[in-house]
């Protein structure tokens, strides 16, 4: 297997893990009154861990269909389609076809991965928790990040082969 395909495979596996593994843990706090809230409304201070798919599910459950669809489209479909096009490009012997596929990939790439990932995290933080809370990235976030980095490496390798 050549290096480019290996990177695409690695990126795909990391993406799969990054989508479903814990990405962000929120530790809700209520300042000086934290202990009191724990007594009277402990459900308000439950530590929550989210994956990207978990965020999407939560958005669907809270009827934020538009946001949920945006996230599905840009943080799930778009990266998967991009990786599929990368793989397809590695099969191409015809340079004309190869170049046209790269154009499509670059177009799709504009909508995917890193920026949307950041957006997803911000949405959860803003939507769900009171002030004084803290958030911690989990290993799923790093899987997703490495997937993005592998994907960028693939893109650079394919670009170097462009005529």
């Amino acid at each position: 297997m050549n290096v480019t395909r290996f990177l695409i495979a690695a990126s795909s596996l990391l993406l799969g893990l990054g989508l479903i593994a814990p990405t962000l843990t929120i530790y809700p706090q209520a300042g000086e009154l934290t202990w009191l809230i724990k007594l009277f409304a402990p459900e308000e201070l439950v530590i929550s861990t989210y994956s990207i798919l978990g965020v999407i599910q939560k958005l669907f459950q809270s009827n934020d269909i538009f946001l949920a669809l945006i996230l599905v489209l840009f943080s799930v479909f778009s990266p998967v389609i991009k990786l599929s096009f990368y793989w397809h490009a590695t099969n191409q012997k015809d340079s004309k076809k190869f170049n046209s596929i790269l154009k499509v990939i670059h177009y799709i790439g504009k909508f995917s991965m890193a920026e949307v990932f950041a957006l997803a995290l911000i949405i959860v933080v803003i939507k769900s928790f009171p002030g004084g809370s803290s958030a911690q990235l989990e290993w799923g976030a790093y899987m997703f990040t490495f997937s993005v980095i592998s994907s960028i490496a693939v893109s650079l390798r394919l670009d170097s082969k462009k005529n």
Binding site: G16, E32, W35, L36, L39, S84, W87
Partner: protein, 217 residues
Amino acid sequence: MTDISDFDAPKPPAWFGAAIPLLLVLLAAGFYWFLTAENKKAGNENNSIQDIKLSGSLIAGQTYYIFASEIEVYPTNLENESWDQGEKGPDIRYRILWKGNAVFESITKDNSLIADWSGLSIELNWKDLLGKSVSSDDAIKAARIRFEEGEKIEVTVEDVDVASDDDMGRHEIEMAKLTIGKNEFKLKKNQTSAIRKITLRVLPVGSNVEDLANIMK
């Protein structure tokens, strides 16, 4: 026997390989999902063990918070007269006695036939809230009693008056009959007691605040 060689066999379309990344994504996600589903199953089993500890009968050697969340008295006193002069109701206060010692005394609830206590120190000063001097442990207003086999506690109830406090009655409870959470004792009036009902709450000391709050509900 076929005469088609591998070379002649129909090849999949070029885009077929494009499905490989999708399959790998699903494979990784499915693998993780499978692993965590197993862990969650084990975790749920552990949780159910924890639930048993937070309910059911008391464990010997364990210390518990015990307080009365509600005490109801009959409308007349031991002499079958009204509690207070005029139309005012009794001012109810209770004590918990353990090994002959009063280990807890409640605040007084004025003019009530049914008095209730939260078990929490909600009568806090603002300086307590703003500072860090009050812990959740301090906030629980209850007797701390260690359970041993054959142990008994006694709840005594008084009508607090300016001149002298009147005895409303007392009730002895075998701790072995108590369970974690809510315990109700319905009592008949007699010559020594005018208590109609005592609701005791029993909470294990050392549980996390979240569990305590759930038991108190």
